[in-house]
Structure formats: structure tokens, C-alpha cells
């Protein structure tokens, strides 16, 4: 997949809740093909605390409008700087990077499990899966009602299930506590997950128990994003692999100590 370095203009910067916002961005050229699960390395100017680029997943890609969206969680200097950027501001991106989620065949049923900001790549994934005739169920785990982000967009291409820690919306607890995992309810051919490592590990173990393939999307810290620095490694059964080129999407069976 050919990689590019392009300037993008901010079209919209929308707060979803105090911790998260969505940026809509437009490049000056036509978007190249981007697959679900891929990410961009975003240059953040105007912040003394961000020397390196920041990896962010493609949340959505709209070829008609020639725009992409990023769903970003405020963490530190870089994401806080992005949070205050305004329409018209420019950011530079190296993209599309990494491998992508495997798209099953038409008629399959897929469960997409996202925790917190981990839902970011699952919107675009769900859309593409649906387009390929796959029945999509998104299971979203949020801290509280306020953190259920953009539910309508997920419902646009399938079913949306929810968990919140206090149970005010959806099932009470974490994503793994949702009734969808019960033997009699579970009717999926494949599981995709993105979120905190402990959540993904638990989801991966559930997928194993249900004997369906699973894919996880990792977030190792990165310096280059293109396979040059070897900073973003994850231990696999075949030795260290780069999350930025061999991943970010992995089969948890290949990852060391992931299913224990």
C-alpha cells in the first residue's frame, strides 16, 4: 500500500464529551485507498511537548466528500493541542499506515467490540463490513452514559449493544459482561476488538471459548509508524513484530501470553 504525506485542513472539530472529540479533515488531493484498521501519523505543531507524530486510527473515510474523521481522546500535550484546533487549521499526516482488519465473506456475522476510545477504528470497519454483506453488531463499552459516543452512526450499519459501568445505559459492567457473550446468544462468525489491552485480552479469550476467529488492534507507542525504528514491537510466537507495519491488527493467537 503506497504511503503518502499530505496536509489536511480541519473542516470540523466536534466535542463528544469532555474527554473526546471528532475531527473531520480534508486533504488538498484525492484520498488514496484506506482500509479499516489503518492509521495515520499526525504531526502536531504548536506544542512544545510533541516532538514525535501521534498515531491515530481512521475513524471514518468518506470518499464522496473526500474527508476522513478521527475520534480522539484527550490524553496529553498532543491530543489536547488537537482538541483546540479550529476549522481551517492544517495538520500534516503520514498515511495510510499499518495492516487492516480482515474482511470476511458476505453473509457472515461480525461482533465488533470497542472499549472507550477503542471504538475509533470500529466505525469505519463496521461500514465496510456492512458494505460487503456482513451483518454487523457493535458492542460498545462506555464509562457512563455521557461516554457513549455517536451511537446513531453505528446503528446506521447494524446493531448497537451497550455497556456502562453504572448500568444507566445498556448492560451494567464491562463489555465482557454483556449478555451477547452467553452461549445461547452468541451467534457470530468473527470478533474484532479495539480498546485497552486487558479488555482486548478478555474479549480474545471469549472469542476462543466461542471458537471463532478474533482480531485485536494494538496501540504500542510509536516513533516512526513506518517500520523503521523498531520501537513499537509486540512479542509474537515468531519473535518481535512491529505494530506499525505487521499490525496494528493481530490475531491474538499469534501474540505471546495473550490468551493465558
Amino acid at each position: 500500500m503506497k504511503k503518502f504525506i499530505h496536509d489536511f485542513h480541519i473542516i470540523e472539530n466536534k466535542d463528544l464529551n469532555p474527554g473526546h472529540f471528532v475531527l473531520t479533515l480534508k486533504p488538498e488531493v484525492n484520498l488514496p485507498p484506506i482500509f479499516p484498521g489503518q492509521f495515520a501519523e499526525v504531526r502536531i505543531d504548536g506544542s512544545t511537548g510533541t516532538f514525535l507524530r501521534r498515531p491515530l486510527s481512521f475513524h471514518d473515510v468518506d470518499y464522496d466528500a473526500n474527508t476522513i474523521t478521527l475520534l480522539v481522546q484527550r490524553k496529553g500535550d498532543g491530543t489536547n493541542r488537537l482538541a483546540v484546533m479550529k476549522p481551517g487549521d492544517t495538520i500534516n499526516m503520514v498515511y495510510p499506515l499499518g495492516n487492516s482488519f480482515h474482511i470476511g465473506s458476505s453473509g457472515e456475522r461480525a461482533l465488533l467490540v470497542g472499549g472507550g476510545c477503542g471504538v475509533a477504528p470500529l466505525l469505519y470497519l463496521g461500514k465496510i463490513l456492512a458494505k460487503n454483506g456482513i451483518r454487523v453488531t457493535t458492542l460498545m463499552g462506555a464509562r457512563s452514559e455521557e461516554y457513549i459516543m455517536e451511537p446513531e452512526r453505528y446503528k446506521g450499519h447494524g446493531e448497537l449493544l451497550l455497556t456502562t459501568e453504572d448500568g444507566k445505559a445498556g448492560t451494567k459492567g464491562y463489555v465482557i459482561h454483556h449478555e451477547v457473550w452467553r452461549e445461547r446468544n452468541f451467534s457470530f462468525d468473527r470478533v474484532y476488538t479495539c480498546g485497552p489491552d486487558p479488555m482486548m485480552k478478555a474479549v480474545a479469550r471469549l472469542a476462543v471459548r466461542h471458537q471463532v476467529p478474533c482480531e485485536v488492534s494494538l496501540e504500542q507507542t510509536m516513533a516512526c509508524g513506518v517500520g523503521a525504528c523498531l520501537c513499537c514491537v509486540i512479542e509474537t510466537n515468531e519473535g518481535n513484530k512491529c505494530t506499525c507495519t505487521d499490525g496494528p491488527v493481530f490475531d491474538p493467537n499469534d501474540l505471546k501470553n495473550w490468551l493465558e
Binding site: 516532538f51 504500542q220 516513533a223 513506518v226 523503521a228 523498531l230 520501537c231 514491537v233 509486540i234 512479542e235
Partner: protein, 305 residues
């Protein structure tokens, strides 16, 4: 008139003085989408050891003010893996490919150097006696005169093309090490590898890197690197290749003025994968603006009176 950017490192003729630093440019293919590698003066490939190495555990990286720490620890396929898997893909790049030779023992350096010596399209090696991220060897060789001399002399016996030695900045007197290495047969020196540093996560009270300490690179170290290039260039007759924090053509020119014959660009490749062609173009326009016909007149051109 188009200015001449050509420089010589021992018997290598570089089309321009801008090369990529070991460990920061992969082997080249990683950047092919961004520019044609043949525009470069040269490529220093990733540190290569006798056997395949997995390197250090994750996390290996910490961002620091205008810099970064890495603790990769020489993850690589080993010299045989390099020769079988990588060399065939890059040997026709149209630029000088230089292998960064690393090891834990003098014997390992010799083994790698001998095997690389046999490769037609590798005109030079860079002896890495300055890696701060391995338990054995690495920086330990580069921080004392006798050991730096010993490994240089041993490799010199088996390696017959251009031999560059990469020095550690973690020393009291870099000029002294450079002189010793020159005496032991080095054809050039690279100045500098990373500064040994450390990062702590105050919230978790743990080191950020799995190895506690790591190598500091990027603009933060530029003033130190520039000083060391200046000190080294005054102390030796062999060419000095300058590196450490170069992000722009201006930075590169500063290193030339301080005495470097050529430069390497490292961490900057992560910030902007197209930085090297920009630096080459920027040097050219500086030369046009300053009516400098031959880049060699910039080398050691610092006016100190």
C-alpha cells in the same frame, strides 16, 4: 551555476553529504514511497550483529523535550539474514549502502565485518562501538581508548574497504577516542551516537523504558553533537561524519562548518519522512544564496577569529 555537493569519505565519493543514520531509516524500502533513495549521499542500515537478535523488551521508546529515548537494543536479522533477505532488495539503490556493524564481542564484530566485506555493493561499514542499549559490548567498547582501539584494529585486519567508526558521546574526551581509533586504522569517524538518558513515569513510579536507560537523540542533543564534531575534527585527519539532531539544511550546514565532511540524519526521518531530500535541496539553495560553488569550502569553514 549548479553548485557541487560532492564530498569524499576516504575513497567513497558521495553525490551529496546527506546520509541516513543507522536504525532510523530501516533498510531503505520503508521510505521508498516518499522519495527515491538514490537522491541520498548514502544509507547507513540498521545495526547488524552475528546472529539474529530480538532486541530489548517493549517499551523501547520515550518522548523527551525535543528528543526521544530509544532502547531498541539491536533487534536485527543477523548478518546472514541481512545478506539473504535484505541485501538483494537494496543493492541496486544507486547510493552508498553502509552496514552498521555491531556486536557483543570482538569476534562478533570480526564475523560480521568479514561477511559484509564479501558483498560487492557494500562499499563501507560503520563500526558501532557506541550502542548504549545492549548489556554486553556496544558502548562499553567505545568509552575507553584501549577497547576502542582493540576492536577497530581487529576489524581492520579483516575488512578491506572503507571503515567508519561510530563514536559514543558518553565520554569525557571524544577527541582522544577519535585519535586512538584513527591510529587503529579507521578511515572515518561518525560523531555521535546517542547520549545515555532516562525517563520516568512519575505516576507509576517506573522507568518508561524496559531497560531503564536508553539513547537520547533528536534536536535536544544537537548542541552537544556539534561541539563533539568540532572537537573531533580538530583532533584527527580522517573525515568526520556529523550527526545528532539534524532536522534542517541549516543544521546540516552547521555540522559542515564545525568540521564534518558529511552528515547523517536520524530521528528527523520519523518526524518527516521526506526530510532528507528537503535537506539536500536546502543545502543547495544556501550555497546558491551564498555563492558557494563547492560544498567542500563549507567543511571546517567556521570563522572563529
Amino acid at each position: 551555476m549548479k553548485p557541487s555537493l560532492e564530498v569524499n569519505i576516504h575513497n567513497l565519493v558521495l553525490k551529496n553529504p546527506v546520509m541516513t543514520a543507522s536504525g532510523t531509516f530501516g533498510y531503505g524500502p520503508e521510505f521508498e514511497d516518499f522519495f527515491d533513495p538514490s537522491v541520498l549521499g548514502g544509507i547507513f542500515v540498521k545495526g547488524t550483529t552475528g546472529k539474529l537478535r530480538q532486541g530489548n523488551p517493549y517499551p523501547r521508546m520515550a518522548e523527551t523535550p525535543m528528543g526521544m529515548l530509544n532502547a531498541v537494543g539491536l533487534q536485527n536479522k543477523g548478518v546472514d539474514g541481512f545478506i539473504s533477505d535484505i541485501y538483494p532488495k537494496i543493492k541496486h539503490y544507486g547510493t552508498h549502502l553502509i552496514v552498521n556493524v555491531s556486536g557483543s564481542t570482538v569476534e562478533e564484530y570480526i564475523e560480521v565485518a568479514e561477511k559484509i566485506n564479501a558483498l560487492e555493493h557494500i562499499p563501507a561499514i560503520e563500526l558501532n562501538i557506541s550502542c548504549p542499549n545492549v548489556k554486553e559490548g556496544g558502548m562499553a567498547f567505545g568509552t575507553s581508548c584501549p577497547s576502542a582501539a582493540a576492536v577497530t584494529r581487529a576489524v581492520r585486519e579483516v575488512y578491506h574497504k572503507t571503515m567508519i567508526v561510530k563514536l559514543s558521546p558518553n565520554v569525557t574526551n571524544i577527541a582522544e577516542i577519535a585519535q586512538v581509533v584513527e591510529g587503529a586504522g579507521a578511515d572515518a569517524v561518525s560523531v555521535v551516537n546517542t547520549l545515555l538518558g532516562m525517563a520516568i513515569n512519575a505516576e507509576t513510579r517506573r522507568p518508561v523504558l524496559s531497560t531503564v536507560t536508553g539513547g537520547l537523540s533528536g534536536p535536544a542533543i544537537k548542541p552537544v553533537a556539534l561541539r563533539m564534531v568540532w572537537q573531533t575534527a580538530k583532533a584527527v585527519k580522517i573525515p568526520v561524519i556529523g550527526l545528532g539532531g539534524i532536522m534542517t539544511a541549516t543544521d546540516a550546514i552547521e555540522f559542515l562548518l564545525a568540521g564534518a565532511t558529511a552528515v547523517q540524519v536520524g530521528t528527523a526521518n520519523f518526524i518527516d519522512p521526506t526530510v532528507c531530500p528537503k535537506i539536500i535541496a536546502g543545502i543547495e539553495s544556501y550555497m546558491i544564496r551564498h555563492e558557494t560553488e563547492d560544498i567542500k569550502s563549507l567543511i571546517n569553514g567556521l570563522i572563529t577569529v
